[in-house]
Symmetry: C2
Amino acid sequence: MTAFNRSSLEELLKKRFFYAPSFQVYGGVAGFYDYGPPGCALQSNIIDLWRKHFVLEEEMLEMDGAIITLADVLKTSGHVDKFTDWMVKDVKTGDIFRADHLVENVIETRLDGDKQARLTTENDATSQKDKKKKKGTIQAVKLEDATKAEYEEILAKIDNYTGTELGEIIRNHKIKSPETGNDLTEPVEFNLMFESSIGPTGHLKGYLRPETAQGQFLNFKKFLEFNNDKMPFASASIGRSFRNEISPRSGLLRVREFTMAEIEHYVDPNNKKHVRFDEIKDVKLSLLPRYIQSEGKTVPVELAIGEAVEKKIVDNETLGYFLTRTHLFLTMLGIKPDRLRFRQHMPNEMAHYACDCWDAEIQSSYGWIECVGCADRSAYDLTVHTNRTKEKLIVRESLAEPLVYDKTVLEINKKIFGPKLRQNAKIVEEYLTNLNEEQLEALKKELEDGNGKTMVSCADGNQYEISSDFLTIQKQTITEHVREYIPNVIEPSFGIGRILYSLIEHVYWTREGDEQRAVLSFPPRVAPFKCLLVPLSNNPAFSKLIRDLSSKLRKLHISIKVDDSSNSIGRRYSRNDELGTPFAITIDFQSVIDGTVTLRERDSTKQIREKIDTILQVLKDLVDEDVTWEEVLSKYPTFVQQELD
Amino acid sequence: MTAFNRSSLEELLKKRFFYAPSFQVYGGVAGFYDYGPPGCALQSNIIDLWRKHFVLEEEMLEMDGAIITLADVLKTSGHVDKFTDWMVKDVKTGDIFRADHLVENVIETRLDGDKQARLTTENDATSQKDKKKKKGTIQAVKLEDATKAEYEEILAKIDNYTGTELGEIIRNHKIKSPETGNDLTEPVEFNLMFESSIGPTGHLKGYLRPETAQGQFLNFKKFLEFNNDKMPFASASIGRSFRNEISPRSGLLRVREFTMAEIEHYVDPNNKKHVRFDEIKDVKLSLLPRYIQSEGKTVPVELAIGEAVEKKIVDNETLGYFLTRTHLFLTMLGIKPDRLRFRQHMPNEMAHYACDCWDAEIQSSYGWIECVGCADRSAYDLTVHTNRTKEKLIVRESLAEPLVYDKTVLEINKKIFGPKLRQNAKIVEEYLTNLNEEQLEALKKELEDGNGKTMVSCADGNQYEISSDFLTIQKQTITEHVREYIPNVIEPSFGIGRILYSLIEHVYWTREGDEQRAVLSFPPRVAPFKCLLVPLSNNPAFSKLIRDLSSKLRKLHISIKVDDSSNSIGRRYSRNDELGTPFAITIDFQSVIDGTVTLRERDSTKQIREKIDTILQVLKDLVDEDVTWEEVLSKYPTFVQQELD
C-alpha cells in the first residue's frame, strides 16, 4: 500500500462532494462546512448506529432541545465567564491570532530548527531525511540549552497559561505576527459563544449552545419523573452546537458549527457501579493514564477494562463501562483499534466542571485528536442550576432503614431575633442558615468566649451583633427516612464530524499499483450508499430491469445509487469505490435472458452471479452485516469476468 | 367519543414529557420547546419515514448544511430586506405587538361582538350556544353595516398591508394596546432573522437561517455534477431553522426554532412533466384552488390528481406529483384524510419568489394550519445568486439537433471604439453588451435617425456619444449546440413540529365512558416506543425473562420501554396508552413455567398468548406494518383475562 497522501484524499472528498466549505460561491467562511450526499448519508448512518448502540440499547431518555439558549443559563453554567480563548492582534494590520496556538506554533518551529541544527552537526544523513519530512522552510538555528528547556516547558504547559502569562511569553521570546513580523497586542479574552438577541425588544440575550449538555441538565426533574423516579439513568441528545473559534483550520476537526451526540448518565455519588459492567469487563482498551503521561511517555497500556477499574486506573465501573462501549462503537464504525487510544486528562487540563476525564483520541494525519470526551462532571451542573433557580434538581430516595445520626444544628428564637435585628433580620438569618456544622461549632465557641455575644460579617458587607439569647446551637439526633442527593454525571460526548473525518482517513486506501484507484472501505452498515446499480450500457432493454430492481431494493430499505451514465463499467465501479459503496449489481444481456445478475464486492472486486431473488437476499444479509463477503464466496461460486475499463 | 378537549391533551403531553418549554426552570422563553423522550422519538420516526418516503424513494441528493449563514447570501435572497413583520409598541409600557395579528384579533373580536348583538335580537337560543364557544368576554356591540363590511375587507386582506396601511387602520379604527388601552406607535419593520457575528473581528455578520433552501441553492453546481449532469433531480435537507417571531403563541405551531425538511426539485422550465406521475395519477386529493376561494368559499373539491393537472387546476405534473406524495406521506403518519386539504395561494399572498404555491393544511383545534408548503419558486433563487456571485448556477444541455435561429447582435470595432472613448470605453461597452435584442433594434434605429450618432446613458449616470463607425448592429443566424438554462425549482417544505402536533391531535381519544383513560393511536411505525415490557409484579423470578426478552427485542431494533414499577398492570397499560405505545408484552407466572407471554394491542386492548419466539415474530411484523392486528387476531386465538386495575 502506498503512503497516505492527505491532498489526494481531500481531492477525492471534494470531487465526490462528501463535504465542501459552506457558501463557497460567496467565497466561504472558515469553520463552516456543508455535507454533500455521501457525507450527509455517512453522518446519518453514524448517528443511526449511535442511537441503536447507546440510546436503544440502554433505554436512554433522548431529548431534542433548543439551540438558542437563554444567557442566564450559560451564565450559571460558567460558559459566559470561562468559555474563552486568548487572542492577540497584529498592532499594524489588525490580524487576529489565537494566542496559545500562535505561541505553540512559533516555539515548535524554533525547536524544530534547533533539532535540525543539532542533527546537521551530528549526522548529515539523518538530517536530510528529517528535513524532507517538514513542510515549509524551517531555519536550522541552534538554541541555547537553557532556552531549549524553557521552550519544552512552555509546550508542556501551553493549555494552562493565563492571558498575562501568554503576553509575557510573547514579549520575552520576541514572538511576532507571523506574516508581517509586526508586534502583537497584549492577549485579550474572547468568548467562544455566538451571541444573539431573542424577540423584538433587544433586551433578552441568548447564545447558540456550545454543547447540548445544559439543555439536558435543565430537564433533569422531568427525566427522573419519566423514569418513574428510578436511578441511575441516562439522558441523551444529538444535535448542532456552536463555537466561535478565533481562527479555525484543520478541516472538519476544528469548526464553528458541529453535530454532537451527548449522554448524561446520572449516578448516585456513593455508588458508581454499573449493572452491565460484567458484559464488557474483558474487553481490552488502549489506555494512556496520568501516571504514564506524567513520566513524559505516550505509549499506552493494553488492559482489560475490568482490570483497569480494579486497579483504580479508571476510577469507577460506570466510567469504565462507557469507555468500553465507546471503544466498541468506534471500532464497529471502522476506526482501526491500533489508532484509537483513551487518554486521561492531567489534573490541570480538565474543564472547570470535571472531576475526571478520559478522551477517546483517534490518530489521523493531524495527529492524535480528541473525538469523544468522557468526563465525570461530578454534581457541578445540577448544583449550580439548583442554587441559581431554587428548583431542586435532586434525587429523593426512600431509605429502607432510616438513617440516624448526630448533627450540630441551629435554632433561631424568632420572637426575640426579629425585633432585635429589625430590618437586618433577613440578611443575618440568611448568613446563619448557610453555615455548615463546623462553622456552627466555631460560632458556638465564639459566643461562649464572648459572653454570649459576637459579631458576624454578612453578605451586605456589614457586621452585626448576635447574642445567645435568640439562638441555640446544639447537637441533635437526626432520623432521616428519605435521602436527598444531587447525582453525579458521567458524560460521554461525541464529536460526530471529527469521528466521521477520522473514519474516512482510516478506511482510505489505493489499489496496488494504481494510485488513481482509491477506495473507501466503509463497513456496509456505515457506507453512504449500500449498492450501486449499473446496466452494462444504456441499452433500453435494461431500463425495465433497473426500475424493477430499484423498487425491490427500496422496499428492503437498501439505499442505492443507479449509474446509467455512458461511462465504462470499470469507470463506474471506480467512482463508487471512491464513494465507499460496498456492493454493485450489474445488469447485462444475460440478465435479460435468464434473470441472473452479478453482485460485486468493493474491496475484493470479486463477483458472484445468481438469480435476482437470491442476490437480493444475499445483499440484504451483507448490508445488515449478518454474513461476511467471505462467507458468501464460500457458498456461491465466484463469477469470473474481465472488468472492462 | 367525547368532544376534543385541548387542555386535557396538553396536560397529558406535559405529564408524559412529549415536550415542554425550554429553560423552564429559568422561567422559559416564548417560542422555544424541548422535546422529551416520546416527543423526540416521535420526531425521529417522522423524519426517518420522510427520508425513506422522499429521499431514498427518489434518490434525492440529501445535504446537511450550516445553520449560520453569511449575511450576503440572505441579502441576495431577499430575506434581509423582505423577511419582516410589522410591530407596534404600547406608547407607555413599551409592550410590543405584531401589528397584523393585533389588528386581526381586535377586528375579529368586534365582528364577533356584532354577530352576538345581531343574534340576540334575532334568536336568543343560538346566541347562547354561540357565546359558549368563545373564550373570554366579548362585548355584544352592534356595528354599522358599513363598518362591518369594512372590517370584513380588512380581515380578507390582512396578510398584505404595508406598515403605513396598518398604521392607518389602527388610527382610523381606534385600536389600542389590549391590556392597558394606551395608544400604539406607528408600525415599524422588524426583521425575523436572528443575527450574530462570526469570528473575533465583529465585522462579519451572519444570520441563523430562516429556511434550509438557500444552502441547497448555493450547492446547485455540485449537486448537478454529482448527478452526472443529469436533469431533473432533487436535493433535500432536514434541519433546524429559526424565525425570531415578535410574540409567538399557539404552542408548537408558531415557534422561534423549528425542524424543517425541504426538497428542492430542479426542473427544466420547458418541461415540468414527472417520470413517475403515472404511478400516482389516480390518487384523490382534497383541493381548495383559487377559483373556489375567490368565490369566498372554503369547501374543497375532491379530485384525482391526474384530472386536476389535466384541467390545469394544478399547474403541472411535478407540482401535482409532490402534492400527492405529500398526501400519501401525511396519511401514512396517521393524519386523517378528512382533516387534510391542499389550498392554493391567492396571487397576492405568495412569497416574493413564488410563481405558484399550494399549502397542505391540517385541521386542528387551532384551525386549518399550513404544515407543508409546496411552492414553485421559478428560477428566482438560482438567478439572484448567479447575478450576485457570477458563478453560473445553470444547466448546460447538449442538443441532439443544433438550434438555428436569427438574432440581433452587436459587434464592436475595438480598434476605433477604444481610442475614441478612452477611459470611458469600459463603462460604455458594459452598457452596450447588456442590451437585449429589442433594445439593440431601438439603438440601431436611433443611430439611423441621428445620422450615425446618438447618446447613451451609462451606469455612472453620464451620457456618452456613440457612432455607427465603431459598432455594427445586425441580424445573424445563430447555431447552438448547447442549451443553457436556469432550472425552475419546485419546493415542498415540511414543518416537522407542526405536523407532529397536528398528528397528536388526530390520534388522541379517550376510552368510552372514561375520560381519564386517554389513548394516542399512533400507527406502529410512527409510535415513539413500539413495545412495553411489563412483568406482572416485581417478583425476582421475572427479571431474567425481562432481561432476555429486552435483549432479543433490541436485536430486532424494536424500541422498548420496560415498566417494572410497582403500579398495577392496568395503570402501567394506561400510562403507555398515553405514550401511544402500540403493543405490550406481559410476563407472568405462566411465562416462567411454559415460556408463553401475552401480547396486548393498545387500541383494542385485546391480547393473544403464544410462545415467546412466535410473539417476537408477530411483533416484528406488526411494527413493520407488514400485518395488521386484525390479521393477527384472525390467526391466533384471543387470550381472555380480566385487566387488573
